[in-house]
Symmetry: C2
Subunit: 350 residues, 2 copies
């Protein structure tokens, strides 16, 4: 199969039938084209819906980069995904795409008309191509557990966990926004760090000098933060960006930064543990940019998860959300998905 390069053949033989996975996030988006080929069972595991551990072997994968989604009442998620699908058709005109899987941010909370989104995506797909649209947390789940049932927490700007078998059980925890939820997310870390910083700025405390300096470096003097941050629609992303500084300070030994990263890890563990469904395998994983911080975050996450869910197995993610989107496309191609399960999964049979 590796010899079949997109664009090098014509006619929908097995050799040029492809699946397309699309991952749309707040900081960027990607599409991956992969050959449709038989799925081998995963090593020693339940193959789960859609079968085996394909993610590790992305033979013949082609990737396109796209724009970022704007999370807002009239969010741009479907448009970004549609443009990527159109770009894939233009880039690989001779590849016959037999199914599309799309994982996208912003759907769960803010996009109120997935039907309209499916219509736009169907037109982008050229009509007649079956496709599945799912929230980013489910794409992360499909990637991390390789299609097996269990719970996965995604921790980037937001923090959301999904416990599912992709069929009858769907348990969502978190992902409700930076203001009263998304505990342990990058935005949450940024907010907690600003809370500590402003108190030292105001002389209520004196232990957040390093966090205050970092915040001033990033956002300007404290009296300018409200005008810079409170009124912007992308404030969650801006606050999340500050989490990078907090993680660096924690890594360098700053006490308060370490405390914040540790509390974030514990909060994420609680979110993940609550997503474990007693009727499903007690299998769990964590994905997302915040896990790259490692250190106090990961230590607290693992310790607290073991405390809250001592019988669960916590595994390293088998693949990325983009892998999960490709897997979703394979499930659609195999006819191996339910009719859809709003607000988690929507199917268009093409």
């Amino acid at each position: 199969m590796n010899s079949v390069v997109p664009g090098s053949s014509a006619g929908a033989t097995d050799a040029d039938r492809w699946v397309l996975g699309v991952d749309v996030g707040g900081t960027g988006s990607r599409a991956a084209l992969e050959p449709l080929e038989p799925l081998a069972p995963p090593p020693g595991g339940d193959p789960g819906p859609g079968g085996g551990d394909h993610d590790a072997a992305t033979a013949g994968r082609r990737v396109l980069e796209g724009g970022r989604a704007v999370v807002a009442p009239c969010g741009s998620t479907p448009e970004v995904a549609a443009e990527l699908i159109e770009a894939a058709h233009a880039e690989w005109p001779d590849a016959t795409i037999v199914a599309i899987g799309i994982g996208a941010t912003g759907l769960a909370s803010l996009v109120t008309s997935p039907g309209t989104a499916l219509g736009r995506l169907g037109r982008a797909a050229g009509g007649g191509t079956p496709l599945a649209l799912t929230i980013d947390a489910v794409a992360a789940h499909l990637g991390a557990l390789g299609g097996r049932a269990g719970a996965v927490v995604s921790v980037d700007t937001a923090a959301i966990a999904i416990g599912t078998d992709l069929r009858s059980h769907w348990r969502r925890v978190g992902g409700w926004g930076h203001l009263w939820d998304d505990r342990g997310s990058a935005a949450w870390i940024g907010i907690e760090a600003l809370k500590a910083a402003i108190q030292t700025h105001d002389r209520v405390t004196d232990d957040a000098q390093a966090l205050l300096s970092a915040a001033v470096d990033r956002f300007g003097p404290a009296h300018e933060w409200p005008a810079h941050l409170l009124t912007r629609e992308d404030r969650a992303g801006l606050l999340a960006g500050f989490a990078t500084d907090v993680a660096q300070l924690a890594a360098s030994g700053d006490h308060l930064a370490t405390d914040i990263m540790g509390r974030a890890g514990s909060a994420v563990a609680a979110t993940l543990a609550a997503a474990l469904d007693p009727d499903l395998p007690q299998l769990a994983s964590g994905v997302g940019g915040v896990f790259a911080a490692d250190g106090a975050f990961t230590a607290s996450f693992e310790q607290e998860f073991a405390r809250l869910a001592p019988s669960a197995e916590l595994i390293a993610p088998a693949g990325t959300p983009l892998d999960g989107a490709v897997r979703l496309a394979r499930l659609v191609a195999a006819g191996d998905v339910p009719a859809g399960h709003p607000p988690f999964l929507w199917i268009s049979r093409g």
Copy 2:
């Protein structure tokens, strides 16, 4: 003096010289017209700048209600105040207003051009009338301490403390917005309550059923909160409204609501204690709508303030922010204010 009704005489004799105080808040605004009369010293106290305890005796006061200010980058505060001043002139055409004091929300953080505001206010005053514009927290201070030096915390939608003698010492704590500050404010209480509620909604916890029910009654199902609250510019006010429900639940014995109100009181105490200036009298007071909740809030506030500032005297407020605005007008009339102290106080000599 009580016999001199505005509009009943002509000519600027002592009998028809008046001062106007204007209080502009996020939920409404008021103007108070009072006769200019000699100020008696307060009973047994330091008369402070501007002299005595006039607030308790508002003989001949006339009040007008106005609109509410929109707190935003291009906030409407000056316009609301200007319209109230014009309305006062129209309502009492024969009253000679010799000075105007204005306390207004939103100036400290978000209005970036007080000079433009002063110009607009000066035109509304008819030109030639000296006026002073101050942030709501300073108006609250002037009202609560009756012009004496010390620290006052204002707790409504926001929470901000000012420690000042209205001359050379100005110490601000808090008031930086609902997202990382305003600890203990009504918005903060609302956010903390939603944090507890969403965790019970998501089955991370099970102890916030009452808060969750109250939140659903107010904001609809939890999955609708992001669309209703995250994208609205007035979200701080909406969240603050929920504090009323939290206070009621606390009063009825709900454990989590009581905990939130208690933590709010402690946070407000820390804000107030940090505003005490070692070079000023250790006199303090708390004002604002959240104090009406009493109960756990007030108990924690008083206990924590006594712990943090054992040598300070905590007094009940002598008057309201509107009283403070009138006092500011009297200070201006007496020539007893400094040249202004941005970003707390701006003076126009008319």
